[in-house]
């Protein structure tokens, strides 16, 4: 693969602005809550700007791996600090930047233990960024755990519904995932015999035999797949979404689940393409079940956030389905869907956050008629819900379209089942919208204020991204294809 070294270390700069923000927050005394929030906003804003900059600075005509930063860390074991940007991780970096920034703004009204919250939040996001940009297996594993560990505290301390239970469940599931990943990584390291964790070198054809790839793929897929909400290892995700505070739910559903899918792509699929082909049937079955299952279970939820949680299961099933097709279209669609779902679900949680902070309930039965009192807040939620249904003009449509085209082509039956789930997902999303936002206004909510401009900024940003990509999907597709086309054409036949 072609490599271009960085003239300006964009990627490290992203990490530095995260970690710098973290240190700055730690230095501010606890009582200065507004200082902490401003520092968080500025530093996350910087991260966003950097991630946008790197996205557009990437030379699409050149392709390959760009902005490479490589420093040997433990030479004896071949561990390197090795970052780079390609068509697969750039959308995810951009997504993380967007969700991070909007997540900080969504938590603007937080009053409880502000300092600790933002410090942990920054730590988590730094891990996410690190994972997306890293090309060193060892670092990928480290970043993976860095991003998961703060989650437990964030949910257990600042969460709401059955928070300890949710936090515990989530942590255990995800640690089970990393318990599967670590042996597989060690296995690959030993089998390669190159004494390096360098992903690019391990990716060369001929490093692993087909049997080794088939053997290592499954634990890697399942380990990362747990984080991506692959059925039947998905039950942590709705519970975790519900328990987490809104800003954390945004990162959680918007970005963390993408880490899982991205890990499957970056580690499992890139290193073990033979394993990928071998296990594709299984992946497709699990993904198709996830798509339908998530939608159907979502149909009977009574808590606003549970609904979103199960819709995530369904949408991540689409990502999995795309990955399982072993086609270019499926791969493109899956990565696109990762991005689109991240933005959409962040918007959903952000809107629910605003509503919950005012009404103090997430039970759908207690809400109703909110369009009367807070039309703008409702409109944001409705836009996100429509995106979730797959209405064209919003980003998700394109991802789903590509994945479903590929899926029906490769696995007709499973593909058709997944397409049918679109009807169910329309049904349950619209039901939620109807019961929450429509209907006569309720008296107890009559005095609630609508979103003021400043608090509306995060939702505005997310909505804009959804619409922009809905109208011009090629912004992202062209980027993804700089990586997916060489990858697919390099696959052994």
């Amino acid at each position: 693969m072609q490599m271009t070294y960085a003239t300006f270390p964009y990627l490290s700069a992203i990490l530095v602005s995260c970690v710098g923000g973290l240190l700055a927050i730690l230095c501010i005394p606890e009582e200065r809550k507004s200082w902490i929030k401003w520092v968080s906003a500025v530093s996350s804003g910087m991260t966003l700007v950097l991630s946008i900059a790197v996205f557009f600075a990437y030379d699409k005509s050149l392709g390959g791996l760009q902005f490479v930063e490589k420093v040997a860390w433990v030479p004896a074991l071949g561990i390197q600090y090795f970052n780079g940007a390609d068509g697969f991780n750039l959308p995810n970096l951009l997504l993380t930047g967007i969700v991070f920034f909007t997540g900080v703004l969504t938590m603007w009204e937080l009053e409880l233990r502000v300092k600790e919250f933002f410090a942990l939040y920054f730590l988590m996001v730094a891990g996410v960024f690190g994972l997306f940009m890293s090309f060193d297996l060892f670092f990928i594993f480290i970043w993976y755990d860095v991003s998961l560990f703060p989650m437990y505290l964030l949910i257990a301390v600042w969460g709401t519904t059955r928070k300890e239970h949710g936090a515990m469940k989530l942590t255990l599931y995800l640690l089970a995932g990393s318990a599967l990943i670590l042996p597989a990584i060690v296995y690959l390291f030993v089998k390669a015999g190159l004494s390096t964790f360098d992903l690019i070198r391990l990716m060369q054809p001929g490093v692993f035999t087909a049997e080794e790839q088939i053997f290592a793929f499954l634990p890697l897929y399942l380990g990362f797949g747990i984080l991506a909400g692959v059925w039947p290892f998905h039950t942590w995700s709705p519970v975790g979404h519900v328990a987490a505070p809104h800003g954390v739910s945004m990162v959680h559903a918007g970005v963390l689940m993408k880490i899982g899918a991205f890990g499957v792509l970056r580690v499992a699929i890139c290193l073990c393409p033979e394993g990928w082909k071998y296990w594709a049937q299984l992946m497709a079955v699990l993904a198709a079940i996830g798509v339908i299952y998530g939608a159907l279970v979502g149909l009977r939820q009574t808590d606003l956030k549970y609904v979103i949680g199960y819709s995530s299961v369904s949408h991540m099933g689409i990502v999995g389905l795309g990955l399982s097709t072993v086609t270019l279209e499926g791969l493109d669609g899956a990565v696109f869907q990762m991005f689109a779902h991240g933005v959409m679900t962040a918007l959903l949680f952000s809107s629910v956050g605003y509503i919950y902070d005012r009404t103090h309930t997430k039970a759908i039965a207690d809400l109703g008629g909110l369009s009367r009192t807070m039309p703008v807040a409702s409109a944001y939620f409705i836009v996100a819900a429509l995106a979730g249904i797959g209405v064209p003009g919003l980003a998700n449509f394109w991802g789903e379209l590509m994945v479903l085209i590929a899926a029906v082509q490769v696995y007709p039956l499973r593909g058709v089942m997944a397409v049918l789930a679109l009807v169910v997902s329309a049904l349950f999303m619209l039901r939620v919208v109807q019961r929450t936002f429509y209907g006569p206004g309720k008296d107890q909510y009559a005095q609630l204020p609508d979103v003021p401009f400043t608090l509306g900024i995060p939702r505005m940003v997310l909505t804009t991204v959804l619409v922009l990509l809905g109208l011009f999907p090629s912004i992202l597709f062209d980027m993804i294809q700089t990586a997916s086309i060489p990858f697919m054409s390099g696959l052994p036949k």
């Binding site: 469940k169 255990l172 599931y173 039947p232 039950t235 299952y293 159907l296 279970v297 149909l299 009977r300 086609t327 270019l328 279209e329 493109d332 669609g333 008629g369 369009s371 009367r372 429509l386 797959g390 209405v391 064209p392 003009g393 449509f397 394109w398 590509m402 479903l404 085209i405 590929a406 029906v408 082509q409 058709v416 397409v419 049918l420 679109l422 009807v423 169910v424 329309a426 049904l427 619209l430 039901r431 109807q434 936002f437 429509y438 209907g439 006569p440 206004g441 999907p473 090629s474 597709f477 294809q481």
Partner: protein
């Protein structure tokens, strides 16, 4: 002829026609939301521009050879390149003119109808969104673009039906409309994949110029046609997905006039006409379509005979007329193509007129019930009363109105079919249509209880309060006059349209002259007798105003309950999905998956407890164990 989108007057006109409403939509949502008059001005300006461009395009096209295809790349992923662009040919331009004309008139009308509503700006924003989606749907050069905007018109329909979101029934209807059409769209999507996978693209021109003996096998072709037709069934509210349309009447009346009668629901028929050569490749599928069209036509007519809600009657009649169009198209050949599209054109005019007239009554008297309207002396509003009679006559197919010509064209086309059952059904449909149309007319015009206190206002009406002034009435009347003019005159443009749509050869050829001499007489006779029966039962001074169907309560109930289709769906959704599968899966989540995980957790804890019992915490026990182990080890090593 395929060209890029740049440097062409045609392209500019097409762009302006399709995109200006979108600009209006954004401007209203972002900038002028709080200023109602400005929003309306923006929206009207945009749709006016669209209308002018559409007319110019059609005028410019007249006499040109071949279709014009203008595209720019929109997206390419993998093997598939999806262009965005326009396909300008007689059919699309005709449809574009219909859409923009009705949109413009309805938006002017809405100035009066929606005046004073708190959601005035929102209404115009959604209307602009609809016009944008519909015009792009019309001009789409590929099936995929058509599908994109097909979904978007569904979205605008959802938003506009549920426009008065505080009304439970309205939001319920919006949801139902969206989900039911979505069910059809899923079929459409799958159907579209067949040519996509076989041909590599879904350009409409490519699909239509497909050779019968190409890579697609006849079985796949039929499958694809039937699946795409699923989308048509959903959008045009045909059997079995027909019940959303009457419920959609919960939306404001201008919306019903524009979306749910004249244009959006006709998009299904338009798609049929669009892919007419492609569908024609599969005779099996065409027969199925003929059957579905006929069935929907008859079922909807029976439903229309018993409803008291004036808008719902027109909704059923819309389904029924769409069924007529599908019958015509499904009968095949250039004649079928022409008569179907011709009926679509005339129907758009007179059906919009019917709705808008009813809208004036509803707005003025605040009720949807035709008997109440009648009691409140709605016939004193002269212009709408005259216009509604005119439109009803057109709907029934009475000369010299537009409906007469198009319906005769369809009937004549049906004589081509070998099996007489279709013609018989169509003639029965003609009779029923005349009956239910004139039932409404006579009920409205001949009130039983003279001069009830017309000041009393019920709250059943669906309109916003306020805005009853002369100004709003004037705004609402002018579109009626224009549409009535169109209804009167459109019938005489038959030949010109025929030339436009099917070319000179076909227009002069087999379509000239009556295939069967008795047909026009029979059709006209049936229409008049339908009206006559309606007169005897509803118009006549001593008539009880009870239809012959209502004499038989079980039949009436069957018709009123829409042949129990809704019950079936409700059972399916509530019992089958909600209480059945969904609950099952939910339990599976909680009991099986979580249960086994929690079981593993509990097992670990219990195991720990059990092992802990072995540990008494006594140093001496440990020493004993240690020594014993050492002793055994030494035994092992030394001996």
């Amino acid at each position: 002829m395929t060209t890029g989108l740049t440097h062409s007057a045609t392209a500019t006109a097409a762009l302006l026609a399709t995109l200006s409403p979108f600009v209006a939509f954004l401007v209203i949502l972002i900038v002028t939301r709080s200023r109602q008059q400005l929003s309306a001005t923006v929206s009207l300006g945009a749709v006016g521009l669209s209308f002018v461009c559409a007319v110019l395009l059609l005028a410019g096209y007249w006499g040109m050879e071949g279709a014009v295809r203008l595209t720019v790349p929109w997206l390419s992923a993998g093997a598939y390149a999806i262009p965005f662009g326009f396909l300008l040919d007689p059919l699309s331009l005709l449809m574009l003119v219909i859409v923009t004309t009705i949109s413009l008139l309805v938006q002017v009308y809405s100035l009066g109808y929606m005046a004073g509503d708190s959601g005035f700006s929102r209404y115009y924003a959604f209307m602009s969104l609809f016009v944008f989606s519909m015009t792009n749907l019309t001009l789409a050069p590929t099936l995929l673009q058509l599908y994109v905007f097909w979904e978007l018109v569904g979205l605008s329909s959802y938003l506009l039906i549920g426009f008065w979101y505080e009304k439970f029934s309205a939001t319920q209807a919006g949801k139902k409309a969206f989900v039911m059409t979505r069910a059809g769209d899923v079929a459409f999507f799958l159907g579209m994949l067949v040519p996509l996978l076989h041909l590599g693209n879904v350009g409409i021109v490519d699909m239509n110029s497909l050779h019968p003996a190409t890579s697609i096998s006849p079985g796949m072709l039929t499958l694809s046609a039937v699946l795409i037709f699923g989308g048509i069934v959903g959008k045009s509210a045909q059997f079995p997905l027909m019940t959303w349309l009457p419920d959609a009447m919960e939306g404001p009346t201008p919306v019903s006039a524009l979306l749910h009668s004249a244009t959006m629901v006709a998009a299904g028929v338009y798609l049929f006409a669009r892919l007419f050569p492609y569908f024609s490749l599969s005779p099996t599928a065409m027969t199925l379509f003929l059957f579905i069209g006929t069935l929907s036509m008859l079922l909807a007519s029976t439903m229309a005979m018993v409803d008291r809600d004036i808008k719902k009657v027109w909704a059923y009649s819309t389904i029924s007329q769409l069924g007529f169009m599908i019958m015509a198209l499904a009968s095949g050949g250039p004649g079928g193509y022409f008569s179907g599209v011709y009926h679509l054109t005339t129907h758009a005019g007179f059906k919009a007129l019917l709705f808008l007239c009813s809208g004036v009554f509803i707005h003025h008297f605040q009720t949807n019930d035709m008997f109440e309207l009648s009691e409140k002396q709605c016939r004193h509003l002269k212009v709408p009363t005259v216009a509604i009679v005119l439109a009803a006559a057109a709907l029934s197919g009475l000369p010299p109105l537009s409906g007469y010509f198009s319906k005769e064209a369809i009937l004549k086309q049906l004589t081509v079919l070998p099996n007489p059952i279709w013609l018989t059904a169509a003639l029965l449909g003609v009779f029923l249509t005349a009956y239910y149309s004139f039932r409404v007319v006579f009920v409205l015009c001949f009130p039983r209880k003279p001069e009830a206190d017309s000041e009393e206002q019920t709250v059943k009406g669906d309109t916003a309060h306020g805005g009853h002034g002369e100004a709003s009435y004037g705004l609402m009347v002018w579109p009626l006059v224009i549409l009535a003019g169109i209804t009167l005159l459109l019938g005489f443009g038959e030949h010109a349209l025929k030339v436009l749509l099917v070319g000179h050869q076909d227009a002069r050829g087999s379509l000239e002259g009556w295939a069967v001499d008795w047909l026009p007489v029979a059709a006209l006779g049936l229409a008049i007798s339908g009206a006559g029966v309606a007169w005897v039962e509803f118009g006549h001074k001593k008539a009880k105003q009870v239809g012959f169907v209502e004499e038989e309560p079980r039949l009436a109930a069957l018709f009123r309950e829409r042949w129990y289709l809704d019950h079936l769906y409700r059972i399916l959704v509530e019992r089958g999905i909600d209480k059945g599968i969904s609950t099952l899966f939910y339990r599976n989540d909680n009991l099986v998956i979580d249960g086994s995980i929690d079981g593993m957790g509990k097992g670990t804890v219990e195991g720990g407890r059990f092992v802990a019992r072995l540990h008494l915490g006594m140093i001496q026990h440990r020493l004993v164990v240690t020594l014993a182990v050492l002793a055994f080890l030494s035994l092992y090593f030394f001996f």
